[in-house]
């Protein structure tokens, strides 16, 4: 069993308790998708592609009053230690749902009745926090597709490791730590749109963990913004 934290509060990957892992986001990486993004978030490597607004198939799923959002979170067979069966697992179906519900408050669907916006996320390599990373890429891909949005959505987990609240749980900390709390926010609107918790926290730790996660989300937001700026406003400068 890995030692998850040294006495000096240094984590197994060398980070301090409130450090993010390395994050890089590239916008517009796919030709066919209407919008796309590629994120590396620690060891996570995730692609997001967006199509729409477009016609809904099957048609009976269409809504006369509003556009709908669909989301698929999928892991490549080679993304995890044991080869994964390509058919969607129950875990992937649940994550697809919580990601969709985290994005919905940000997307202005009322403007596109009878249409669908499809968000496809592919986890090429998985590390701790893949649902947050997926959400970060998906939000950027939606913006890249020109979908009208109230705000971006920025996600980051916090958790409890070796009795301390830490930011941005990695794979070892997720599996052997004490708690994992993925959180997503709309950073300007100030609302939490995804939140889950697995693990045991006292009420005080709960507050602290939530605060830590929200802090992380805000730093992720800056990275998302920068990636979008790079594509849309600085192409001349390079």
């Amino acid at each position: 069993m890995t030692q998850l934290m040294t006495e000096d509060g240094i984590r197994c990957d060398g980070r301090k308790t409130d450090d993010l892992r390395n994050i890089s986001i590239k916008v517009g990486v796919l030709k066919n998708a209407d919008g796309s993004a590629y994120i590396e978030f620690g060891q996570n490597k995730i692609l997001a592609g967006v199509f729409g607004p477009r016609d809904v198939h099957p048609k009976h799923m269409a809504n006369q009053d509003t556009g709908i959002l669909r989301c698929r979170y999928h892991m490549s067979p080679f993304s995890v230690t044991e080869r994964k069966n390509p058919a969607p697992s129950r875990r992937e179906i649940e994550i697809s749902k919580v990601i969709k519900e985290a994005l919905e408050p940000a997307v202005i669907l009322k403007d596109f009745p009878r249409t669908v916006i499809d968000v496809f996320v592919e986890v090429l390599q998985a590390d701790g926090g893949s649902r947050c990373a997926a959400l970060d890429a998906a939000a950027v891909a939606l913006a890249d597709a020109g979908i009208p949005m109230r705000d971006l959505v920025s996600a980051c987990a916090a958790g409890k490791v070796a009795d301390r609240i830490v930011l941005d749980i990695n794979n070892e900390e997720d599996q052997e730590g004490q708690a994992d709390m993925p959180v997503a926010i709309m950073p300007n609107v100030g609302k939490v749109t995804l939140m889950q918790l697995d693990g045991v926290l006292t009420p005080e730790e709960y507050k602290s963990c939530l605060q830590t996660a929200i802090g992380g989300c805000k730093r992720v937001y800056e990275i998302q913004r920068k990636a979008l700026m790079e594509k849309y406003f600085q192409t001349g400068e390079q």
Partner: protein, 267 residues
């Protein structure tokens, strides 16, 4: 179309009432519906319970049988919770493979029991890495009137508390039942799930179908006997402010403590 207008009128009426601290069925905001628990309803199962939470009704059965452990988890027994909404429970449910809503329901119920470590799985090992005891907790919603998360969770916890674990002996790597010897399951804590809905600025506990139809977002928080928060799931197409999330945790602890007393009697 019509239903949308009616939904909207109903939402307006519900918010109007909430402003004066009331709900359409007369409850206060943090008041749960009456919870009835009956155990032992399926005598052939190793444990079972039928619970009513208002008009929502769930039957849960527990089956206990020897199994192979999961790879890399050879020092733990197996515990799996499932949930389904029977088509007779709700006119909108159709037979077929589980929808994403039902998958979420089952996984949230499962995590509530798993993350609190309600059952000490280390005590369910027959031979390390080879043979363990598996506990299958299957919940069926038979009448649906909102808050299926708590209803399935309560029925699962009650069925687990009521169950007797058969004894197995292992010979030549094959486990065989020892007739007539049973024990209580190794329970360490009582997980209590509390589901809340946000409607406008109001947080209400234990929403009915009618309230769920016009809620903005949903929050399920499971606490353990020590007053810790052990599992949480946000749902719905809107968000919560950080302050509301703190408020939700306080409600979950406070309401959970009340409900836990009802379960203490089952132990």
């Amino acid at each position: 179309m019509e239903s949308l207008i009616i939904d909207q009128l109903k939402r307006e009426r519900i918010i109007e009432l909430l402003k004066s601290g009331k709900r359409i069925d007369g409850r206060s905001l943090d008041e749960q519906r009456p919870l009835q628990i009956e155990t032992g309803v399926i005598p052939k199962a190793n444990g079972s319970a039928r619970i009513k939470l208002g008009n929502t009704e769930v039957i849960t059965g527990v089956k206990i049988q020897p199994d192979k452990p999961f790879p890399d988890l050879g020092d733990k027994g197996i515990l799996i919770c499932t949930a389904e909404i029977l088509p007779l429970a709700d006119p909108h449910v159709e037979p077929g493979p589980p929808t994403e809503d039902v998958i979420e329901l089952a996984r949230v119920v499962d995590r509530g029991i798993r993350e609190t470590e309600m059952i000490d799985l280390h005590q369910l090992v027959l031979i390390e890495d080879k043979s363990v005891i598996g506990i299958f907790i299957d919940s069926s919603v038979i009448d649906a009137d909102g808050n299926l998360f708590d209803a399935c969770s309560y029925a699962s916890v009650a069925a687990l508390l009521s169950c007797t674990v058969p004894k197995y002996e292992v010979k030549d790597d094959i486990p065989s039942l020892v007739e007539g010897v049973t024990s209580k399951p190794p329970v360490t804590t009582l997980p209590i799930s509390v589901t809340m809905a946000r409607i406008g600025d109001y947080i209400i506990v234990d929403p009915t179908s009618e309230e769920e139809a016009c809620m903005d977002a949903r929050m399920t928080i499971t606490t353990n006997s020590a007053g810790n928060i052990c599992a949480l799931q946000k749902g719905g197409s809107e968000g919560f402010t950080p302050e509301q999330l703190i408020q939700c945790s306080e409600i979950a602890l406070q309401v959970g403590t009340k409900i836990r007393k009802q379960f203490e009697q089952l132990k």
